[in-house]
Subunit: 202 residues, 2 copies
Amino acid sequence: MSENKSTYHHGDLPKVLLQNATELIREGGIKALSMRKLAERTDVSRTAPYHHFKDKNELLCAIAEQGFQRQDQALKNLSVENPGQDNRQLFERYVLAYIRYAYENPETYDLMFGKEIWKLGTATESLKQISRTSFRHWVDWIEQLQLQDIVSKQDSTLRVAQASWATLHGLCRLLIDGIYLNPEDLEEMGKTAVRMLTTPPN
Amino acid sequence: MSENKSTYHHGDLPKVLLQNATELIREGGIKALSMRKLAERTDVSRTAPYHHFKDKNELLCAIAEQGFQRQDQALKNLSVENPGQDNRQLFERYVLAYIRYAYENPETYDLMFGKEIWKLGTATESLKQISRTSFRHWVDWIEQLQLQDIVSKQDSTLRVAQASWATLHGLCRLLIDGIYLNPEDLEEMGKTAVRMLTTPPN
DNA sequence: CGCTCTATTTTGACACTGTCAAGTTTCGCT
DNA sequence: AGCGAAACTTGACAGTGTCAAAATAGAGCG
């Protein structure tokens, strides 16, 4: 019926809020996101957002959830874009893409895996679920690689998955938190990590 | 002259502040540390701490710095306590001790390596220095291990040091941030990591 | 059309935060 | 004893998350 942006009071406030919130954290980090500034940018009163997100925490969870969806999408596209590649090469691409996502969306990545949400057990149920799924994808990867002897079998799949993912995550964190790591070396660093995680080729 | 606690106005306010601050973050995380609560617990006015730490940031840096000192000490003691052990075994102990420190002092570790301080380049000069030194110790370790063929030489020492440290750091972060990792598996996890990082023995 | 019900949004308020400016106390030294 | 400086306190301001109560506007129905 209404062809312009607003069908109800504001239109689709939740979506716009999420969008603006993502924008805010991208501009100034998670600390720069305040409910009040968000409301202001959305041209809405201070407490309006509270009718769509019960908490600031719930808003953060929503951002993180969106992050998982996009990351999953980006990683899923990989195998589609590179058909017929063997798992060894594909795995390297996967790792590099993972790191790239973290590098390009540092604030979101921070929410996805930072203590802001997880430490206090305040994660939304749906966020918990999608993050579990996301980790399972990694475990599946490792299982495949173990079957093909690309990754060591001396420890259980879960263990190796945890340890290798820790490497990946550690690299991302060092990068994001601005510790030691140089963005220029990003790709090289990822390749080094892959070499360390996999058995030598041929 | 004065035999009880107070020689000056308060005695050694800076030391007491640092102590209470560490206590506060241990009790309720970094977020639970506010300058005002700290002042209150120290029985001192709201702004008294500002005469010893120009910022909240400077206070956090001081806590982190103290963390580095204690960690370095704990790690240094290792080689003293276990003389005559070969580097392979010692390295495993080193890794486990590193993880244990992070596990036992999660809030401090978070300050030492978290974005709270590093992301915005707000680290104190002395903090920067001690953290650099601390990383150099790790690089030295890797160099030794490469010389003894315990760690792969296919990448440069710096690269391997970064990647392997990322693994270690990643594990600690997962543990601290409460993601996936189970505290019970801590030791096993560390050993798996060591196995992944080093060449097979004998 | 008009009425009501409910979802949406706003206004006011409170306790809390970091930190600055200006004042006050207390010590060490000459 | 008294001076200079260091340590400390009080008052104030803008900003935060969030609750309770009021105001508004839309949909559905007669």
